[in-house]
Subunit: 220 residues, 2 copies
DNA sequence: CGTAGTCTTGAGTATCCTCAACGAGGGTGG
DNA sequence: CCACCCTCGTTGAGGATACTCAAGACTACG
């Protein structure tokens, strides 16, 4: 039914105690497609991506999967509000490292230290920003526009050196579930963008953005 | 080009000083389609809808409008993160009342009182929740599914008495820009839902939801 | 009562989805 | 080391859906 090809494995955990936020934290390492959390234990923790990447997804009633967010190094996650759908977060690449904080401890720390509280607000605002950006991408009309906007978003969120090259850690299936279009359409859009010179492939997951302007405008 | 039929008028302002959050606040009243704020002055204030309704929209590069959020009584807005697109908030109905707080004053109040800080976090989480919900609606496939999900969302967010009746304060054009589909498609979807008995109209903007289950599942 | 905005419906076209097939990599086990 | 399997990615054909253009009815408001 759904675009969920999984090699699902367990996680390899390495514990540590690092003083950020002045709160106990644990560093965890995950295999490819390993679950980081599920809606069952969502309320307890708060996470920070160190390296690798992860996907935040929701399972719809009919069994389809929707990716709600890609988590890249530097991103925080774990405050997804109250929703009705089943959801979770999985690592995308092998060796994804995540710092985990206790939500309760963080709350009390925030109540003690206004600076931490302010930092928390800032972090939540980042998540809002991502959500808004995604909303506008999904609001685009054609598949080519969506894919082009996606590439630009990923480039802007990545911290790569080359300002034109972006590495897509996720599969085409993930992109499809993120943009709410079919895998085939993602593939066709990328081919089309490549054919007309807007992008250039240096491997299936490495893209050079050629004409940022024409990409942004949707090419038409 | 865009779905922006406007009667645009100025605002009728009534000032007051109400102690909520322990912070100076102003109550403002707006005409239909009157701007509440624009991206130029976004960073200064923080708002709370008292009555009526408003739309948070973004203008895309090509001139199209996307509605990013509907603001209903009880909703807070004004923390929309940093984005690149031009955006703003307008009242939808005549006489929409909004409480406005100074962002800076609120920040200092939060730094002084952990309880206020906590409350602020809660409010931001609500906004996140709305954003997430919208994301899943947009991720739906068919127009009928989107419209049905929209009706349910509006019902759940409204505080109306009758648990089956929902009043749509916004125009079909607004709904179209919210769901990223054309006005005609919105109209056709509503007609179809009505035809097959999932909803019943008691006026163009007043809908009775008949079979919540079949609505949620998208009818197919 | 007229006008501007709103809502609905129709016809034709473009886009995307589904089903299907095939090729390319990566990992595992013989 | 090679064969195999599984996932991933791409491409094609046909059908379903939504968009655009167009016209007409309804509504609110001055």
């Amino acid at each position: 039914l759904s675009n969920v090809p999984n090699t699902a494995l367990g996680k390899a955990a390495v514990s540590a105690s690092i003083p950020s936020f002045g709160v106990q934290s644990t560093i965890l390492t995950y295999e490819r497609s390993a679950p980081i959390y599920h809606d069952t234990d969502s309320a307890d923790h708060f996470y920070h991506v160190q390296s690798g990447a992860a996907r935040n997804y929701a399972l719809l009633d009919d069994g389809r999967r929707r990716i709600v967010d890609f988590l890249l190094p530097g991103d925080f996650f774990g405050f997804d509000g109250r929703h009705h759908h089943s959801f979770g977060v999985e690592a995308i690449v092998r060796g994804t490292r995540v710092t985990r904080y206790s939500r309760r401890a963080l709350e009390t720390a925030a109540n003690r230290d206004p600076h931490i509280a302010s930092e928390l607000r800032e972090i939540t605002l980042d998540a809002m920003s991502r959500s808004q950006a995604r909303l506008l991408i999904l609001g685009r009309v054609t598949a080519i526009e969506k894919v082009a906007a996606f590439l630009i978003e990923m480039k802007e969120r990545s911290s790569d050196g080359d300002p034109q090259v972006v590495t897509l850690l996720m599969s085409r299936y993930d992109i499809a579930d993120y943009l709410a279009i079919s895998v085939e359409t993602v593939s066709r859009a990328l081919t089309e963008l490549s054919r007309c010179g807007a992008i250039e492939f240096a491997g299936k997951h490495c893209v050079r953005l050629q004409h940022r302007g024409s990409l942004a405008s949707g090419l038409h």
